[in-house]
């Protein structure tokens, strides 16, 4: 056991850190800036069955210690992703586990994309995005309804060649209900949180800043909400959780693991600083030493020992 390593279904992570989906493209640009083999894994941008341009611009707005995005799942479609994007990434960074993010507007789309993408070489797991707040149909619709979430997960688990992690929405009254329903479909684990729905308005035009009106809130502002949701899901379920939401430093990573996560994805921080992930990985050992944490696995074990259900 190394100090930073974590073992999760399908994922042999050399450290718990991975860039979150939508905040690292398909690894091409970051891969020109640093060696992605340093990362625990990479969660590539959402794949849908057809190419999507996504929402009109402006697609981003700033908020206090956060940002709104309404990209709208822009992507070249699963065929191109499987034929070009993933092979290119895998060829360049052999040691990098790839987690493919799958989205759609109908269950059949999700199933088809999972089937296809789970067989792409280099793909170690799927992140099933049932929680995108920025598309008119699908996405969050599944994530807020326990029955739909269960059905969808089950269908995707059945067809996928790799473990499936279901990405949950924070925009629900009780995430435990959704998590319990999804768990019955036996996915490998969860990822959470996706973004909170928010808005900003322009005082001059008196209109929403985002062309899509609403967008997803991410960044440090959401950290306490992410920690709470991760803790809630952890309290009803033993499945692995890849946590995310507002993490910007090694301290935040450890706090998220204490809350209930087994690995941690970094989203918005990459947009502020493209070197955020390697910087956090480098910082982890010293911060762990400061808090007498001998390894990430030991921190996870310690939490498991303590957790009162």
């Amino acid at each position: 056991m190394t100090t930073l390593g974590v073992q999760l279904p399908g994922l042999d992570l050399k450290n718990p850190i991975m860039p979150a989906s939508g905040c690292c493209g398909f690894g091409e640009e970051l891969g020109n800036l640093y060696d992605l083999n340093q990362l625990g894994a990479i969660m590539i941008k959402a794949a849908t069955s057809k190419p999507r341009f996504g929402n009109p611009t402006p697609r981003v707005a700033e908020t206090p210690q956060g940002m709104l995005n309404a990209i709208g799942l822009q992507n070249p479609g699963v065929a191109t992703i499987v034929a070009e994007k993933i092979p290119k990434l895998h060829a360049k960074f052999k040691d990098l586990p790839i987690i493919a993010n799958v989205a759609g507007s109908a269950q059949a789309d999700y199933v088809a994309v999972c089937d296809q993408i789970s067989r792409a070489p280099g793909v170690s797991a799927i992140e099933l995005n049932i929680s995108c707040p920025n598309v008119a149909h699908g996405g969050m619709e599944f994530g807020v309804d326990p029955t739909a979430a269960f059905e969808l997960t089950k269908a995707c688990v059945n067809v996928s060649a790799v473990p499936i992690y279901v990405k949950l929405s924070p925009n629900v009254t009780d995430i435990r209900e959704i998590a319990k329903a999804v768990a019955m479909a036996q996915p490998a684990g969860f990822t959470l949180i996706n973004t909170l729905v928010g808005m900003r308005f322009d005082l001059t035009t008196r209109q929403a800043i985002l062309a899509n009106q609403t967008g997803g809130l991410s960044g440090p502002a959401v950290l306490p909400v992410a920690l709470r949701l991760i803790h809630q899901v952890r309290s009803v379920c033993d499945l692995p959780i890849i946590g995310m939401g507002g993490v910007t430093c090694a301290e935040d990573v450890l706090e998220m693991i204490i809350a209930g996560a087994d690995a941690v994805a970094i989203g918005t921080a990459n947009l502020t600083d493209p070197f955020a992930c390697p910087e956090i990985i480098t910082a982890l050992p010293a911060v762990m030493a400061k808090y007498h944490i001998s390894s990430i696995e030991s921190l996870i074990h310690e939490r498991k020992g303590k957790l009162v259900k």
């Binding site: 341009f53 996504g54 611009t57 697609r59 981003v60 940002m67 990459n270 493209p274």
Partner: protein, 261 residues
């Protein structure tokens, strides 16, 4: 190579009403920078997490500095305007692609069209083209007299004329009026424009079909390096949107036929 440079403010002056010229010294000039590239600047206030993109207005390799010129329009630029000598700034860059000019004949006739704070990257471009021996005509538009900057500096590089929206200086009218009235007797081998969307649309329409008319586009950005898809534009070739261009990595400079502004 894109890096997150820590640059030092060596000078900051208000060159016109609400418009500042910021001189930043540091290692960023050690690697080549193309005219038209931009930087993504971390606002030195931790409440703000999005960087702000600014065109590189001048590169001085010998003395190791770059200049940015920006207008105070919101919180971020307001904070930048308060920086004084010695302050440091995190600057990601150089980003994007510059203005293409390798196709130019010797002593080519070139038209530069700058509107307001679109001017900065055109200054560095003009400086280089002038030193390469090209002939520059320069049309500059500003909202009013108070907001005019760099007229004298641009005049060094070629015949420069100015219009203002309110007529408080130079020609009263738009930059297209200026061009129609003063820059029609030559056929330019290349046109380079940067300014507000209205200007760029007008320039695109006016020079439609020109093989070498380029604009530098603006877009709300987050990452500035191509990983977030905030800054996309439709391509004219495929308005379905399946293919598209990112202003930050495919641009900010585009041929006028390439993208839908």
């Amino acid at each position: 190579m894109i890096k997150d440079y820590t640059l030092t403010v060596t000078n900051q002056i208000e060159v016109a009403d609400t418009i500042y010229e910021l001189t930043l010294a540091g290692a960023i000039t050690k690697d080549p920078i193309a005219a038209g590239q931009f930087v993504n600047v971390k606002i030195p206030n931790p409440a703000y997490i999005l960087r702000r993109p600014f065109g590189i207005a001048e590169v001085n390799v010998a003395q190791g500095y770059i200049k940015l010129i920006y207008r105070v329009v919101g919180d971020g630029t307001q904070i930048l305007a308060q920086l004084s000598k010695g302050a440091t700034l995190n600057v990601l860059g150089p980003l994007g692609h510059g203005f293409p000019s390798e196709f130019l004949n010797q002593n080519a006739d070139v038209l530069i069209i700058g509107g307001g704070t679109g001017l900065p990257p055109l200054y560095e471009l003009s400086r280089r083209l002038y030193h390469e021996g090209h002939h520059l005509d320069i049309a500059l538009g500003f909202p009013n007299k108070q907001r005019i900057f760099y007229e004298a500096k641009m005049s060094q590089f070629g015949h420069t004329m100015v219009s203002t929206d309110d007529g408080s200086y130079g020609l009263q009218g738009t930059i297209i009026d200026l061009i129609d009235q003063n820059f029609t007797d030559k056929s330019y081998q290349a046109i380079y424009a940067c300014g507000p969307r209205g200007l760029e649309l007008a320039v695109s329409a006016h020079f439609k079909g020109h093989p070498h008319a380029y604009i530098s586009a603006e877009a709300r950005m987050a990452c500035g390096i191509g990983i977030c898809n905030a800054c996309v534009l439709h391509t004219t070739a495929d308005t379905s949107g399946a293919t598209n261009k990112k202003v930050c990595t495919d641009g900010p400079v585009f041929h006028i036929n390439e993208v839908v502004l």
